[in-house]
Symmetry: C2
Subunit: 245 residues, 2 copies
């Protein structure tokens, strides 16, 4: 009705455009969910923080009803939790959650790698991710390293060529990054893993899938232990919630 309504067209398809540019973006609720998910996994929303429907709907410029659909998605993914009549808040991963996430990761990733084919497109993803991680380490932003690391592991899962495994794993990654948020600036954490990933990849590409899988298993064990320590250490505050950036 009013010009103010329209907004954020950006990549949005024009009125008609090519028939093929849709299917990816449309759908305001999904886009809102993407935006909020991004805020969560990048740590700009912290665990326990409450999200007011009105405030967020104004920020994202969508109606409350549409936003509620977005919340449904994120609650279903486990990134948000809902309390009856008290709205939603960013999930607060517990130690048990971290353990569980790693258990599932191990179950998915290790067999995928052990049975993987170095010629599979997923291997390309892994290679690119390692390169990106090496470059990011020079750049100095540990967030970039973390992102590349995640891509590396999603490449491993891709080796299985299973849409459902990809989906589940993507979800686990998001939950994990939510836990990473507790890292704060303490992300030197990842540096040691970059080389291990590179070695693992070399081994895999050379045909030693079983050896690579064994490497991965150790990696997951070590990584889990480190993350457990972090979550455990940061799990007591009790004070949380309420927006206030």
């Amino acid at each position: 009705m009013f010009p103010g309504r329209f907004r954020a067209n950006t990549q949005h398809s024009t009125i008609n455009g090519g028939p093929y540019d849709r299917a990816v973006t449309t759908d305001r609720a999904e886009r809102s969910a993407d935006a909020i998910r991004e805020l969560i996994v990048t740590g700009r929303l912290t665990p326990g923080q409450r999200l007011s429907e009105q405030a967020v709907s104004e920020t994202l410029d969508v109606s409350r009803n549409t936003l509620r659909e977005a919340f449904r998605i994120l609650v279903h993914e486990g990134l948000l939790v809902r309390r009856p009549n008290a709205g939603v808040a960013v999930a607060r991963p517990t130690l048990a959650d971290v353990v569980d996430i790693y258990r599932v990761r191990r179950l998915i990733e290790v067999p995928a790698l052990a049975a993987g084919d170095p010629a599979h497109p997923g291997a390309r993803t892994m290679r690119d991710a390692v390169d990106a991680a090496l470059a990011a380490r020079l750049g100095g932003d540990w967030r970039d390293i973390a992102a590349a690391n995640m891509r590396f592991h999603s490449g491993i899962v891709a080796l299985a060529s299973s849409p459902r495994l990809d989906r589940v794993h993507a979800n686990l990654s998001a939950e994990l990054r939510l836990s990473f948020g507790l890292l704060g600036e303490n992300g030197a954490f990842f540096d040691g893993f970059v080389d291990r990933n590179a070695g693992l990849l070399r081994r895999f590409l050379s045909g030693d899938a079983d050896g690579a899988a064994a490497d991965l298993n150790r990696y997951l064990t070590d990584s889990e232990r480190m993350l457990q320590d972090i979550v455990d250490g940061a799990g007591a505050p009790g004070a949380a919630d309420t927006v206030s950036p």
Copy 2:
């Protein structure tokens, strides 16, 4: 001090069949989703069938907005598919879907059983499910057998004590039951598996977890092949689909 601590968890376990009152999910959208899911997995809504927002909202006696939240959940679970500006329809599982579902099932169930402890509560679920299946076979309704069979396998997964695996597996079960809908009345399908489950369970309880896991592996292979034939036979008409009663 901790009036309402948000904690990630509680997606009520849908294992229990009885619609007991218990702190009912006082959440209309979720309840609506449950109702629709039930219609889908019991075959009263057939693959490809379109769901009108207005019609369904009147049937369930909820507003269109609330129903849209329920649709979001089910789309996310893969039981409904959404076409832009054309609403939602019941998903139409393809052969690739069945293959993928079984791949993930195998990945989850076999290790869970192999590493399972006969003293775990999940074993009790398995035992009860076998008993129920044997009873249902006398009763004659193959749907009861199918339901018991599903409970048996969810018991296997429960052995792993992983909330996330439980959730994923429950979702797979729902998708599978959606495929079963194609069975029509042709469900003698399951009869042969009841005894196999019983044998598998006996083996597991006697301490031979590895042998039981091997049984399970064969079971999944056979079951998958049978289901593939069914889906293949029912999905024949060209690549294009569209409902066409």
